[in-house]
């Protein structure tokens, strides 16, 4: 039984740069995954605006009947301009690279896994001299290490 359905990485401007699904359920075609990525990017930004308390950096966990979505955003980012129709205002906001996993409801320790994936990204994607920033990730070493990390996580889950 797969605990993790899929993993997404979206760049600072909301484009999907990495998508992978695990297991047989919860698969998506390319169009749908792109749609999820851009939707999530906007929802994340809107949540920062909606927060009544200052210092909100966006949604970290979304819980639904059939899945949980855990999101981690890096601290690095560009300023993007967002236009809000309701207030008719343009607002500046910091948008970092976002990593998120969609998993079974109640799956534990996803923050740790996302943090680890971020480390793998810095090691095997950013350090690859032929990787261009903000472009789709096609790095074999990253794939290999990612698969290992997810598998380890699965074994740890079974052992628990």
């Amino acid at each position: 039984m797969a605990a993790i359905y899929s993993l997404y990485i979206i760049n600072k401007s909301g484009g999907l740069i990495f998508y992978k699904d695990y297991g047989s359920s919860g698969r998506m075609d390319t169009n749908d995954s792109l749609r999820v990525a851009s939707l999530w990017h906007s929802m994340h930004a809107i949540s920062q605006q909606l927060s009544p308390i200052s210092g909100c950096f966006g949604i970290e966990l979304l819980q639904a009947d059939t899945f949980d979505l855990h999101c981690f955003q890096s601290l690095t980012g560009y300023i993007s301009l967002l236009f809000f129709f309701l207030s008719k205002k343009v607002t500046r906001m910091i948008q970092g690279t976002k990593f998120f996993v969609v998993c079974e409801p109640g799956t534990q320790h996803m923050e740790g896994l996302l943090k680890h994936i971020y480390e793998l990204y810095t090691d095997y994607v950013l350090k690859n001299p032929f990787y261009e920033m903000e472009m789709p990730i096609r790095c074999e070493l990253f794939d290999i290490n990612l698969t290992q990390a997810i598998q380890k996580d699965r074994v740890a889950l079974l052992a628990r």
């Binding site: 210092g55 607002t91 500046r92 690279t97 320790h109 943090k115 971020y118 920033m133």
Partner: protein, 186 residues
């Protein structure tokens, strides 16, 4: 579970894979030498080193944040301390100190007593205008830019020019606010 709170520079340095220090020093030397041959003008080499450092910095910052568990700094003073104490230790294996703050806390100096890049270097007369370690200033500039701080960085003291330490002056030009209130309608 990952440890809570920032890790010390020593702890991270001990845990990452490293290359032989001499290989590193010699490789950097070879790059500078090649740039001098290709570009001929010392001033151009300084510029190129800075640009190379910048390109490294904008990627390196993510690794730094991922491995050090440092979260948002409250002010520029804390940022400078983090760079000197954790950043330099983590990537170069040396510790730097922060001094010479100006009154409004936007300009300071990072002083390096020890610098592995220059272990075998003597500047010849023909290269007197060369900032041999200019790549470092580029790295710091690039890294800070990715966390929305525009800075200007210059060398104040350079051991290769007969000073007693390396001193990098870091001047904060513009910091983009990350929290409310945003300055709207700009």
């Amino acid at each position: 579970m990952p440890p809570v709170g920032p890790r010390s520079g020593d702890a991270i340095f001990a845990n990452v894979e490293r290359v032989n220090a001499e290989l590193f020093t010699l490789t950097y030397g070879a790059i500078v030498r090649q740039l001098l041959t290709d570009l001929e003008e010392v001033e151009e080499v300084n510029k190129q080193l800075d640009q190379m450092g910048y390109n490294i910095g904008i990627r390196l910052i993510d690794e730094f944040l991922a491995k050090s568990n440092v979260s948002r700094c409250v002010d520029f003073k804390e940022t400078a301390e983090v760079i000197a104490k954790i950043g330099f230790k983590m990537f170069l294996g040396v510790t730097a100190s922060v001094t010479n703050w100006d009154a409004d806390g936007t300009c300071c100096s990072i002083v390096l007593e020890d610098n592995p890049l220059v272990d075998f270097v003597e500047l010849p007369d023909t290269c007197q205008g060369l900032y041999y370690c200019n790549i470092l200033s580029g790295v710091v500039r690039g890294a800070l830019e990715m966390v929305s701080m525009k800075t200007e960085i210059s060398w104040i003291r350079d051991m290769l020019r007969g000073d007693d330490a390396f001193e990098l002056q870091v001047k904060l030009l513009k910091q983009v606010p990350e929290e409310y209130p945003y300055k709207d309608d700009e």
